[in-house]
Symmetry: C2
Subunit: 464 residues, 2 copies
């Protein structure tokens, strides 16, 4: 009851500025621009969200009770901050959990424990583990070139390494080693696969993430070594010469079968709720090992802060809806479920934040050709925050399936990903990694962009 | 047998340059200076040692079979590199091991696992663990001020934080939280203690290290949280207000009783073996979690490389002895045993490397007052490597008990410790953290200093 009263009080305060004023002239070029500028200086909303969920909830593995606590926390936070129509929309999913033990010990010709985490969808070795000879592949292409059947009874080691890039494109080059490497090795007879982490730092922090096995290939145990451990294993191969290297691997993930997850939503209601809403997405789940600060507590904080900051500048024309998706990490379960449930409800535009909390450096849309004026307006409005326009076509974040399925408008506010893969899917994804100044720049850019889009009277989007 | 032949071949090569030439003029100012300059450019000996032991052995917890493998490896390496009189001198010690489980879960009012490692000499909670309310002390002084008996049944949390310093002096300010905090808390009734890691990084890497309990105080379980986890626990206290925070702690260290460790020694024999030798120390053991690259594989590599580089410039007057001490981390067992066994064998001077692998920036001696010319000669000889003289009195490294017990000469070649406590006693102490260029600078400075000392005909040392 207390929460509800707070919400009403807060929503009255939101709309103190007449709506008409928010795009007009005035100090800093209108109420919306002022709100964005103020966010750059002093927004605390995004930080409050990500500090709160990482402290009071922590890791939120998809489909587990921890994710449920995360949703409950988010529902309460949204209500306390004045969002309307807050709901936790349940869906069912197949739930994989990592289990308690993950060890990789080289047993011959040397003896040393290496740090490993299981990959999502990895099979279990059983508590007793498996021991086998390791076959070294410097890259994914080397594994692809291995003859059929050549890995029978062996553990494949794929050491494909990743380098940092601002736009995250390094993930596209290195990612397959994780996404499909274990399945490829299994199809050639491997009993298990260990990969060099798809990550760019040299810390003792293995990176998890989902892997998959092709139709007809039984899942095998699969894990990722930290970069220093992968370096060490490479050196062992260099020093051992022709002597085989053997490893004992213990990975104990298991399936919980079908469990319930959910998508948490909330709204800043627009002046004309009959117009399609602006959809701001992020995901609430994280892997089990980190606290989901960079991935993706920050994203939900940025989206929510932008919605509230726009509202402070005056009630927007369109409703702004935040979608804190569930179960993104283990297979976009929430994104798919949301599209399925709401496909008939047209969205005006989708924007997602799911690439950390470092500064936004580029804006992409998928309607620059069909709506050049709007695209230009957006780009000009965020130039003062150091954001450049581009000719890239926005494709939207992972949780925007509904907008893609509708063929709708998308905006990508590209964050600097140079250090994103230092932390991605590791235990080191914690609050201290977030730079409050860069987080505020995200909120400022989002406030400006969302404010313009939520006050756009006409339909817009890519050419159909 | 192969090793022995290699050793003989190598030792013949060492002394190819006539001894008299090594301090005289010539290119780069004599053979010794040339050897030091060459080390700066291209020494590979120190790297070979530390790469080898971290790759082929890995962690070397004092008193365990892993440390034994480390000694065997080092003996073989010393022989293969031409050292004479190589030996593994055994001693007995009380051996503590960390056990397999270390978890710290906040259970109320939030629920979240924090990353923890046991401290050396910690008692066990048993596999079932203990659960209790946590009492927060921002600093060691706050704990010291707590009334007697006030922690009865509680877990003490000492969050004393450490900042980086070039000279390592931050360790002196923050260290007591680890060295004696658990004992102090236990004396006030605490059932267990968790501390903020004595470390300067914000990675999810808790720092272990020894703790101790005063006479008459029964040891309790004691562990260190990583800095991000200590931050998180502090935030929980800030958010929970008056609601008690409870933690379930599982730490399962155990004692192995008395086991055997050893000190590994080897020599470059001097032209006059009747003169007291120059003693170059480091320690071969590491904690169980890291591979002992910075602490202290690098130190042994630097010492060994310097001895070999001096020999390359011509057989030195005095014997140079390397002492790779055992069981330093858990209580200087090797240093004490070595002093006890060899106290009657006078050492000319002791130098130790045990502060990582970053550049040497300062030279201290304990004989600047009694032997100002020699101290000046040393300082002038290393100025070209960016090493400054100082008025500080050298006190020697942990493994130089014998020299201190003899009241002998000491030289401290101070390394830049700015990032040392980012890695110290963590799983992140791995080879990749070593900068090869800075490692070579260490070898160059050591080569120059050891070469001068090993060719000093007169006795030198502090005033008695």
């Amino acid at each position: 009851m207390k929460t509800k009263l707070l919400a009403l009080a807060a929503s009255a305060a939101f709309f103190a500025t007449p709506a008409a004023a928010q795009l007009g002239p005035g100090p800093c070029g209108g109420a919306l621009a002022c709100a964005a500028d103020a966010a750059l200086e002093s927004d605390t909303i995004a930080w409050d969200f990500v500090e709160g969920i990482t402290t009071e909830v922590g890791p939120r593995q998809a489909g587990t009770e921890a994710e449920k606590r995360g949703r409950d926390w988010a529902v309460q936070w949204l209500r306390a901050n004045g969002f309307r129509n807050v709901a936790d929309e349940p869906f069912r999913m197949e739930t994989w959990v990592p289990g308690d033990n993950a060890t990789a010990r080289v047993t011959a010709p040397y003896a040393q424990d290496l740090m490993i985490v299981p990959l999502g969808n990895s099979a279990s070795t059983g508590e007793a583990g498996i021991e086998a000879e390791v076959v070294y592949f410097p890259s994914y292409a080397d594994l692809a070139a291995a003859p059929a059947g050549s890995l029978k009874g062996k553990i494949a080691f794929i050491s494909h390494d990743m380098r940092p890039t601002q736009d995250g494109s390094g993930y596209g080059f290195a990612g397959p080693a994780r996404w499909t490497g274990a399945g490829l090795a299994a199809s050639k007879g491997a009993v298990a696969t260990v990969i060099r982490s798809i990550g760019t730092e040299t810390e003792r922090t293995p990176h998890t993430g989902g892997t998959s096995f092709p139709e007809g290939v039984a899942p095998t145990p699969a894990g990722a070594l930290s970069n220093p451990d992968a370096d060490n294993l490479e050196r062992m191969f260099a020093r051992a010469g022709d002597t085989p290297i053997r490893m004992k691997l213990v990975l104990t993930p298991r399936s919980l079968g079908e469990t319930t997850s959910g998508n948490v939503v909330g709204e800043v209601v627009g002046r004309d709720p009959s117009l399609p809403p602006v959809l701001l997405a992020c995901h609430l789940d994280s892997w089990w090992n980190g606290t989901g600060a960079f991935d993706d507590g920050a994203g939900c904080g940025i989206a929510a802060a932008a919605a509230l900051n726009v509202a402070k500048a005056g009630q927007p024309l369109r409703t702004i809806r935040v979608l804190f998706a569930g179960a993104e990490e283990t297979g976009l379960w929430g994104s798919k479920a949301y599209s399925e449930a709401h496909i008939d409800e047209l969205m005006a535009v989708g924007i997602e934040s799911d690439f950390g909390a470092d500064r936004i450096w580029r804006i992409d849309t998928n309607f620059a050709a069909s709506d050049p004026e709007l695209a230009r307006e957006l780009a000009q409005a965020v130039a003062r925050f150091g954001v450049a326009p581009s000719r890239e076509i926005a494709t939207g974040g992972a949780d925007l399936n509904i907008v893609r399925d509708q063929g709708g408008a998308l905006v990508d506010l590209q964050q600097d990903g140079t250090r994103y893969f230092d932390l991605h899917h590791t235990n080191n994804d914690t609050l201290d990694k977030i730079d409050p100044a860069q987080l505020r720049q995200n909120v400022a850019v989002w406030t400006q962009v969302v404010g313009i889009l939520a006050n756009e009277p006409d339909a817009f989007g890519p050419a159909k």
